[in-house]
Symmetry: C2
Subunit: 137 residues, 2 copies
């Protein structure tokens, strides 16, 4: 069972999607010499400012290291933008996950694909294109 | 007379300066596959969102191609951020120049170093750290 980690392709795909929705988008390669790590993508519009960390991952659980989550959250707070982990799951699409819906364990923030599919936010909602739909049951 | 075009160094210097002022900062390498060119630097804080195009230039006049200025302005408008050309002049420092203070010619937006020094905005003002000082005479 081949592992699904087309990270760069996934990032590019999401960049184009957000661009197509009218955002100014940048993919961020490195830290730019600053000491905090930056998110993968910034998508900006007059009404929505999003910092996004992309994860293309086909396993039933996604783990984000405690330090990475905290540093990205700090980056976004300092920037005054919203922060999401965008999980791309093969054949299921993208799920936008705020930190709050992860479970914190000793070493990582953890979420299952079932929970991500149930509580993850759709791109149309994250981008303000439509209001949150009623929760899937 | 050696030309002064230390572009990358100047960008890095300004990035660190803005980072030191409490901003989340990214240097943007390329267009990320989107069709509009992006600015060199994004500096974001909860109260200020800045898109900056850096120019290290030692000549008495700075020219920005019409198309480049228009594309950058469009990028910033779509993003809902403020846009400045930051001109670094050797031994004089940085001058933040809004598009409005350039003179539009047939092919370019043009400004002299004298005008940039007189009407350019200081980094402390652009970043909201202090109000605009009274104009130099």
């Amino acid at each position: 069972m081949a592992q699904y980690r087309k990270g760069a392709n996934a990032e590019r795909e999401l960049t184009h999607k957000l661009y197509g929705m009218g955002f100014s988008v940048v993919r961020i390669a490195g830290s730019g010499g600053t000491s905090l790590p930056s998110p993968d993508i910034l998508a900006l519009s007059p009404t929505k400012k999003l910092a996004i960390e992309c994860k293309a991952w086909s396993k039933p659980y996604l783990n984000i290291r405690l330090s990475q989550m905290q540093e990205l959250e700090e980056w976004a707070t300092k920037a005054g933008v919203d922060f999401f982990i965008a999980w791309k799951y093969p054949h299921k699409g993208w799920f936008f996950l705020p930190k709050e819906i992860f479970k914190r364990t000793e070493k990582a923030y953890n979420i299952s694909i079932d929970k991500a599919m149930k509580y993850g936010i759709d791109i149309t909602v994250v981008t303000g294109k439509q209001k949150q739909l009623s929760k899937k049951s």
